[in-house]
């Protein structure tokens, strides 16, 4: 069984949502399509533990970015310390950051800085990738040597990443159409820090008001509300629904194909209990 596919089919926010809702542990690898953006690496690895993002690393050819190297560059560790620690990372049974903090080699502030640059900044860039492959491997060993020990839920990061996204061009086909309405998937207040616009849109996500009307009501551009809607729907807070059921448009040509209910049967009348028992018995002989 795999959880793999293309980013053109599933946006990163949606994949994050699956991983979080499934409480999954494992490594998500992303391979951006070649030649997409020059600043991108070959492969990105996002480590998850029970649906929380623990680390993000990038590989470029044989070059692997590492947490220890970053600490050395920042002169938090000496070259000698780094070298020694590098021989030990393979043996770690807990995140490197926790280990180093216990040894008083780094403090919480430094770990927060590391997490911000390693996880938050990198993932925000990942939201700009709309073409490439993804693969979630629940069996992949966790890379403790790259973990600060800090984590965020996939949903929180997706919200941040999509808020910071400037170029929506690659997602334009996935934005909900203005005539669609939004419906909350839960009436409970989300335990996420929504910004005020997101919160207003969420409040109007009652399955009846179209996105265009929400935009008019809030005095926002339609496009802006579409982006907010996309954000809220990718993190699983709302879903898009049609406002009016489409009117059946029967034309002459298709009339010939109209199915005829051969024996009738009336759905308003539920099927009788004896019918169901008989049917089940009959199927059991076949199955």
């Amino acid at each position: 069984m795999s959880l793999a596919g293309y980013l053109s089919e599933y946006s990163l926010a949606e994949i994050f949502h699956f991983v979080q809702e499934g409480n999954k542990t494992g490594v998500l690898s992303l391979e951006p399509e070649r030649g997409l953006m020059r600043s991108l690496s070959d492969t990105y690895y996002v480590s998850f533990q029970a649906g929380r993002i623990m680390s993000v690393t990038a590989r470029n050819g044989a070059k692997h970015q590492s947490l220890l190297k970053i600490m050395e560059q920042r002169r938090w560790l000496s070259a000698a310390q780094t070298m020694e620690l590098e021989t030990q990372v393979g043996l770690l049974r807990q995140p490197l950051g926790i280990d180093l903090k216990a040894r008083n080699l780094v403090n919480t502030e430094q770990l927060t800085l590391l997490f911000n640059s390693q996880v938050i900044a990198t993932t925000c860039k990942l939201f700009e990738i709309h073409h490439g492959r993804f693969n979630f491997d629940p069996q992949a060993p966790l890379i403790y040597g790259e973990m600060t020990g800090l984590s965020l839920t996939a949903q929180e990061i997706a919200l941040l990443g999509l808020r910071m996204l400037k170029d929506w061009g690659g997602l334009s086909a996935k934005l909900p159409a203005p005539e669609f309405a939004l419906q909350r998937l839960s009436s409970k207040l989300p335990n996420l820090r929504l910004d005020s616009q997101e919160f207003k849109v969420w409040n109007l996500a009652l399955g009846e008001i179209s996105i265009a009307k929400i935009a008019a009501q809030l005095g926002l551009e339609i496009e802006k509300v579409q982006q907010i809607s996309f954000r809220l729907s990718s993190i699983g807070l709302v879903q898009e629904v049609s406002v009016e059921p489409p009117q059946p448009s029967i034309d002459k040509k298709s009339e010939a194909l109209t199915p005829v209910y051969v024996g009738g049967g009336n759905a308003n009348a539920p099927v009788s209990a004896s019918f169901l028992t008989n049917l089940r018995g009959f199927l059991k002989k076949k199955g």
Binding site: E9, P245, L257
Partner: protein, 185 residues
């Protein structure tokens, strides 16, 4: 004659026609045509109108099974089919994640019109690249297993497997209707 109307819907190529053929005892009315446009690169024959099959299991009892058209637009045909259905099966091919969005759209479309028991049948789970049923449930927006309908793995080509999935549907129907039926006596 007592008749139960069942609708088999699902994504393109999920196995709707095959499913109906596997349970039916009469020659299935099928209206497969060469596929047009975007469906064509998925498969050569697609169902343009509908499939129909029956299962007669007593002098006065029959199951009628209707398949929805394979192509991806909802039209009057859908309305007619679901209006009188007692229950429906949503088939989803596990190895085509790009179609899960559409499966969700079908479900929303159905559930906004009718409140009838349904089950989800996952086909093609033997194929390469197949997603697990748990992951498919997540892709369909089910965040916990309480509100989720029964999900079964089914091989549409295998009559036994199809029969087992129908038993699940019948039992689900019994439970849901028992829950709302007035108590007599």
């Amino acid at each position: 004659m007592e008749i139960m109307n069942l609708v088999v819907t699902g994504t393109v190529g999920a196995g709707k026609t095959t499913f109906i053929r596997s349970v039916s005892e009469i020659e299935v009315v099928d209206t497969d045509r060469r596929a047009t446009d975007d469906v064509a690169n998925l498969k050569q024959n697609t169902t343009v109108a509908m499939d129909f099959g029956t299962l007669q299991f007593g002098d006065e009892m029959a199951l009628h099974i209707y398949g929805t058209p394979g192509q991806t637009r909802f039209d009057f045909m859908w309305e007619i089919l679901i209006e009188r259905a007692h229950a429906y099966v949503l088939l989803i091919a596990a190895h085509r994640p790009s179609e899960f969005h559409h499966a969700r759209r079908i479900m929303n479309f159905m559930n906004r019109r009718v409140q009838i028991p349904m089950i989800i049948g996952i086909t093609h789970s033997d194929c390469e690249g197949a997603w697990s049923s748990e992951d498919i449930a997540l892709a369909l927006g089910y965040q916990d297993s309480i509100q989720q309908p029964p999900i079964v793995l089914v091989n549409a080509e295998d009559g036994e497997s199809v029969a087992i999935s129908l038993i699940t549907l019948v039992e689900h129907y019994m439970q849901t209707t028992a829950a709302i039926a007035p108590i007599v006596g």
